[in-house]
Symmetry: none
Amino acid sequence: MSESDQIHKVVIIGSGPAGWTAAIYAARANLDPVVYVGVAKQSPAIQLPGGQLMLTTDVENYPGFPDGVSGPQMMQMFQKQAERFGTKTQPRDIVSVEFNSDGPHKLVTDKDETVYAHTVILATGATANWLGLENEQRLARNGGGVSACAVCDGALPMFRDKPLAVVGGGDSAMEEATYLTKFASTVYIIHRRDELRASKVMQERYLSKPNAEVKWNSVVEDIKSTTNEHGQEVISAVVLKDTTTGELSDLEVGGLFVAIGHTPATGFIKDSGVTFNEKGYVQLDGKTTETNIPGVFAAGDIADDHYRQAITAAGTGCQAALDAEHWLGDRDLI
Amino acid sequence: MSESDQIHKVVIIGSGPAGWTAAIYAARANLDPVVYVGVAKQSPAIQLPGGQLMLTTDVENYPGFPDGVSGPQMMQMFQKQAERFGTKTQPRDIVSVEFNSDGPHKLVTDKDETVYAHTVILATGATANWLGLENEQRLARNGGGVSACAVCDGALPMFRDKPLAVVGGGDSAMEEATYLTKFASTVYIIHRRDELRASKVMQERYLSKPNAEVKWNSVVEDIKSTTNEHGQEVISAVVLKDTTTGELSDLEVGGLFVAIGHTPATGFIKDSGVTFNEKGYVQLDGKTTETNIPGVFAAGDIADDHYRQAITAAGTGCQAALDAEHWLGDRDLI
């Protein structure tokens, strides 16, 4: 770097609940934060500025909105609040990083700009894995009954007393499916093999529900949709293919929940020296948001494969900003 | 307990951001949560339903409210949201508990009612510490110019253009004192040592104000009061003792703000078997909200003396509900 290069106090990468909350707190502490809204698009994750909430039509569990709020609207309010206190928003992706324990850290944008920062908050989140079907994304984005998060969306009125399908065979699929049995007429787990990967206790918990079923040796080949009484396109059935016979059949459902895991958006820091846990998420130090690299913090789903809620991500975004502020203060950098 | 006693799946004690968020998540998971809004009043804490936010006029850093929101209004929205999904609110304090590792747990209200629960979420928060001087509480309760929250009370007309004292030396003392410089003729930080514990940036932010002063090596020995034109008892001066010489002197002030930390509201669980950390806060297991007692979880400031923000408390409230849900599921209690 040259003498004339500006070194930011805090650069935040990612623009979901964690990133914007970090920005609100950093801005109010006069740290002049800059938010880079995304990271380079990476497979299989669909990386969105605003995070997974951009795919959520109706957020009912973020505290403070008794009547619910749409995901994109909520992210707009977060951004407005961050900018009100002086956050600068850069509509750029960060494509590569060079973290230096002696600081400052170097980041490169998708326009090949170089950015320097004393502290970096990683908040690029994780993205749900999808099936890759043609109308899956459209139905997911428009509240058409396709979702990758039963805990977020399962309690919505549109799913009440309807048959619902869950794709997956692991513990989270069991968990999502079990959760849905409270609302659905019947829940169908759709699984490509003849046995589940999930732990026995999780399987049993699901299978003990009177309205729990499993479609073995089945994969979803297609999603059928119809127009509801509000003129909205909604799912009507999934087309199942039997993996042993190849036979196709329709299964009428009012909702499809894809539960085949998440992928943390860590592609841009793969070779940065940041330590990951066994699942590929950023490893944090104890209850703080500190990574193994001095001055580099992580918040939200990029470091959390367990709770993964908007409110928990926002909470850790706040923590990351406070941790970064202390870190800077301790080194007389503010 | 008798056969006819109802055992709740989840009882939440406390009604700040952590308690209501736990309730939102527990209610949406059909766990029929019951919120007991407070715990028995305990010294030195003044325990408020709704938590510390009930004393906060303007919350600007809770994400989702770009134009700010008042603390009580925000807590009302949280409560409304929790109740919308079926949370039952009990306007009662819990005065004692009997936690049983084999469950269920037993709670007793201030009306001597007995409540049973498979899981309990402790979310009673923390409250401001006081100096323990004779007339401090009387002046605080009767609007006599003594307060533990500058942000809540500092803007009142009675403090305008008056000299004001702030006791403390940490970051929150700096924050409160800096805030008061907007209204006061002079702000005096009164600190027992010859250097502040606060971070450098917070100190500098305060000291850069033209009407900011510090009384070093000083403690408040007494509060003097007078009767104002409305016949009301109000503070007129603090008696300072020099910690090096022992000398006493009067400092005329129109207000005294106590900023010497917080105490977790744990009186009702002191002998319950719950493990506390060295500072007296509830000790949690790793990154979860689990206490050492099976089925007992803690969220918010009762288990956090570090971040202590509305958004972090809400985040952990969500975690506690999800942790409780898993715990119940693992034991076939839902």
